[in-house]
């Protein structure tokens, strides 16, 4: 079972790599979106470092949304989804494997690119470290919640816009606690509360996200 799960993750990664530039789209979007802030608000370092945690996190949130609409649509269109439902792996774990692959191709690169961009916004070194940690905890939640949105809209034409409407409100807590942790580090008022809530949210999303998305996929295939 574990072998099948890993094979599915590996397959998704292979598909992503061979899919070409589309895979990098999230990171490229993230880089461009964050660089827009200094251009927009001006080169005042005090102001930039004030808005840096929020700017980076909002850009990460939007970047994670970009590739979500394709998460299940391709498999639905070519019949892979119904074959996966007939496989040995319960559909909940199929969802989990897809979310893991989505995180490895979007969340992880975002967390890797974030410190460079935050430096651009004059964030302190303390802030940078916590920014990486908060993104590592928060972006998997984005992938898991996003999987639910993608599963609900898989059978719809133009489901992409609907995913954003469904999922963005649910991303709000992740944004609040993610930014809270980074600001706590920058202002030196403690980060543990915010990071603990993010970690708790991740555990919850790991359990509930696949269950909800699997239920939605079963309805779609029927």
């Amino acid at each position: 079972m574990v072998g099948v799960f890993l094979r599915l993750v590996g397959r998704e990664l292979t598909l992503a790599v061979r899919g070409g530039i589309g895979t990098l789209m999230a990171v490229v979007f993230f880089v461009i979106a964050v660089t827009l802030f200094p251009l927009g608000v001006g080169p005042e370092l005090g102001l930039l470092s004030r808005i840096a945690p929020g700017a980076v996190w909002v850009a990460a949130l939007l970047a994670a949304l970009l590739s979500l609409d394709r998460l299940f649509v391709a498999d639905h269109e070519d019949g892979s989804l119904e074959q996966l439902m007939l496989g040995v792996l319960p559909i909940e774990f199929v969802v989990l494997a897809k979310a893991v692959a989505h995180w490895l191709t979007t969340g992880l690169p975002l967390a890797a690119a974030a410190p460079v961009l935050a430096l651009l916004l004059n964030m302190s070194v303390d802030g940078l470290v916590i920014l990486i940690v908060s993104l590592l905890l928060g972006t998997p939640i984005l992938s898991l919640i996003g999987a639910v949105g993608a599963a609900l809209t898989v059978g719809l034409r133009r489901g992409g816009a609907l995913i954003a409407l469904l999922v963005l409100p649910l991303y709000v807590p992740v944004l609040i606690f993610g930014v809270g942790a980074v600001e706590g580090a920058v202002l030196d008022v403690g980060v543990h509360a915010n990071l603990s809530i993010l970690a708790g949210g991740l555990v919850g999303a790991l359990v509930l996200g696949p269950l909800a998305a699997a239920a939605a996929l079963r309805m779609t295939v029927e």
Binding site: G3, V4, R7, L8, R11, T14, L15, R18, G19, E77, D78, G79, S80, E82, Q83, L84, M85, L86, G87, V88, L89, P90, V221, E222
Partner: protein, 216 residues
């Protein structure tokens, strides 16, 4: 067994049973429910009424076990454009729980020279052959085939007919929806057009669904 799609009744009163080595061809006009019946048998779709049994036990007691003993080849080929034929086949064998794709599956369908060709370069018929190769890559006793030869040439159709015959010799069961292109020796024939229902008929026979048996 009865079926309703989108509030529109498709068929009712369908009942059959098959022995090991048996086969059934589903025939009927477009929209008579051939694909729906196959999807019900593959538990991708819930029947509106009736039961499905395997060796006397209703399959809804253990969906997972039922999924593992069937192969379903529908209208969609589930071939990934960026994966080669071998990779496509290997993945599906793995997802069916086999350690690796059984050798000879590509050869049986005459596409061994396409093993390293990515799915996007395959023609519709070649993709269909690859989808049918899944049947051999990970063995399962029950084959549910939805118009398997629809894009195939005469050579491939003959190969598929031979595959089904060999499968039945080994004690397997095949249920094939067709418009008459496939002739199976000694196969039962289910005319779904005769089981079509109109909405008001269904109202009066709400409890009248018959049982569907599928005995091993």
């Amino acid at each position: 067994m009865a079926c309703i799609r989108g509030e529109r009744p498709v068929f009712s009163g369908v009942s059959f049973s098959l022995e090991p080595g048996g086969a059934l061809t589903l025939v009927g006009p477009n929209g008579s429910g051939k694909s729906s019946l196959l999807r019900i048998l593959a538990v991708l779709l819930k029947p509106a009424g009736g039961t499905l049994t395997w060796e006397g036990a209703p399959v809804d007691q253990d969906w997972t076990a039922h999924r593992q003993r069937l192969h379903y080849v529908g209208h969609l080929d589930a071939v990934k454009p960026t994966l080669t034929a071998t990779e496509n086949l290997r993945d599906w064998a793995r997802f069916r729980g086999a350690a690796r794709a059984a050798p000879g599956a590509l050869e049986a369908l005459g596409i061994e020279e396409l093993a390293d060709v990515p799915g996007r370069f395959l023609s519709a018929g070649q993709r269909r052959r690859l989808a049918l190769a899944r049947l051999l890559a990970a063995p399962a006793p029950l084959w549910l085939l939805d118009e398997p030869t629809v894009t195939l040439d005469a050579d491939a159709s003959a190969r598929v007919t031979a595959m089904i015959a060999a499968h039945r010799t080994d004690g397997g069961i095949a249920i094939v929806a067709t418009h008459g292109e496939i002739a199976l020796d000694g196969a039962g024939r289910l005319e779904l057009g005769e089981h079509a229902v109109s909405a008001d008929m269904l109202m009066t026979e709400a409890d009248g669904e018959s049982e569907e048996e599928e005995q091993w």
